[in-house]
Amino acid sequence: MNKGKISSQEVIDLVSSKSMVSKRVAEEFLKAMISSIEEALLSGEVVRIKNFGAFKLQWNEPRKSVNVQTGEEILLSGYHKVVFTPDTILRDAVNEPFAHLTPVELESENPEPIQESTEVGLDPLRIFTDQATEIKDLINEIQALSPKTKAVPTKKDEVLLEETDEPDEVFVDKIEEDQKVIADVPLEHEKIASHEDEFEPLHEKIVIGKPVDSIFSPESKKENLEPEAFESIDNSIPEFESTPFLKDLESPKRQKAWLWVLIVVLLLGASGFGLYFFCPPVTSFADKCKTNITKAAESMSFTETLNTISGWFASKPKPVPAIKTVVIPKDTADNDSIEKKEAVDSLQLLFDNPRIYKQFIATETIEPGNRLTLMAKKYYGNKDFWVYIYEANRAKIPNPDRIAQGTLIKIPKLDSRLIDATNPRCIKKAKELHDVYVNN
């Protein structure tokens, strides 16, 4: 029984058993304790009990209220209330289950809406060019990293890409999941490159084994489709993100984008074909795999092959995400860089826009020993941000080095990103402004 009211009788029992006194004594003691506390409270005193807490009287003012049924106003009379403040020892003991928790400072919510607005403001053409460069980079990296890109899946990509209107939405969840997986498996680029040799053959096995399982099990086929589909899915991520804007825009632009993607995919496929047929090690390896599989297929029964094929996916779930990572990290990296760019851009925008000071958090008077830099340190956490105070009070301050005593300085409320003391860019900007103002 976790909850349940313990009566004073039970407390008396516990105390008597603990301190080896009769229950009668314990009862008398408890009564005396309560009456003593009451008396002290009635005489207006504060009662403090070591390791337990303090009892205090609090006067609650009379207040007006409304009868819920009749709507009549009633006056609730004031009353005294006994307030108990637990001692730190008791407080900590009771709060033990949550003692490990500490208050967490959260980032201010302001940046998000502003970022959105910048996104909306983006030129749709710019989005396409971004995509194009992204895809180009992707191809370059794929060509550089993996000479073993296979031709078969790319064709599928085309098919998939043509259907992506709806699949987009279907796949978004998957993509998110996969990205989570990737985030969980922090693979560095080099690592991927080294792992690639291990996983790539496996992937090819899957590809080669596909005709077999496409006959046998639709399930494994679906699974098989997945890793291949990722390239196309990744290509279509930005597409999906931009569709809200695109819906309002003319379709030709969109078709242009599709053309781009198609061309890119074709290029990719062609390069994959070329590599597959002209690179002797790849073909020989592929043949080996083929023979292995056919052997296995011969030796195993129908169900066994099915099991092994599904086992490739079931027993080796890690290689599959790893194959994904071969392609996806570049993409996520690209996304990151874009995000960074946007963040940087918004910062730059903040820097470039003339700051308007409307809200003020405090006012200070200039006294001997009180300087703008000190105020900046006090309110913004870094003395370099004094320039913003100066900007806000420019009308009153002819010379920032010599401010008349008694001048009322208003401390403006600033965007938290502008005065991020941990961001070297903010400090750099402030220092630039400092140079501008001091040299004037």
């Binding site: 105390v15 603990k18 403090r48 005294h80 009771v94 949550f98 938290s416």
Partner: protein, 96 residues
């Protein structure tokens, strides 16, 4: 009235040495603390209830700096006076 004064007044009432009273008070406090740590409610007849309440986590915003802080949940001891005590306190005059 602090701890010592309380013990003194109780010793007079019980007609017992202060050391005994102090020991008993310590035991009582320890018992009550244990019970409260177990999240049990203690009700003293004619005095009031000690109860453990959970304060949910909340977001607080510093009015000056606008820094938003997530305050974690916590367990606190709350005391609610009984009606008998409230009636007794009614006679008290209050000075504003």
């Amino acid at each position: 009235m602090n701890h010592k004064e309380l013990i003194a007044s109780m010793a007079i009432k019980l007609n017992a040495p202060k050391s005994v009273v102090a020991d008993l008070l310590d035991v009582t406090v320890a018992t009550c603390t244990e019970l409260l740590v177990d999240e049990k409610t203690i009700g003293f007849q004619s005095f009031g209830n000690f109860e453990v309440r959970k304060k949910e986590e909340r977001l607080s915003v510093h009015p000056a700096t606008q820094i938003r802080t997530l305050i974690p949940p916590k367990l606190v001891v709350s005391f609610k006076q009984s009606n008998i005590l409230k009636e007794k306190l009614k006679d008290l005059p209050h000075n504003e």
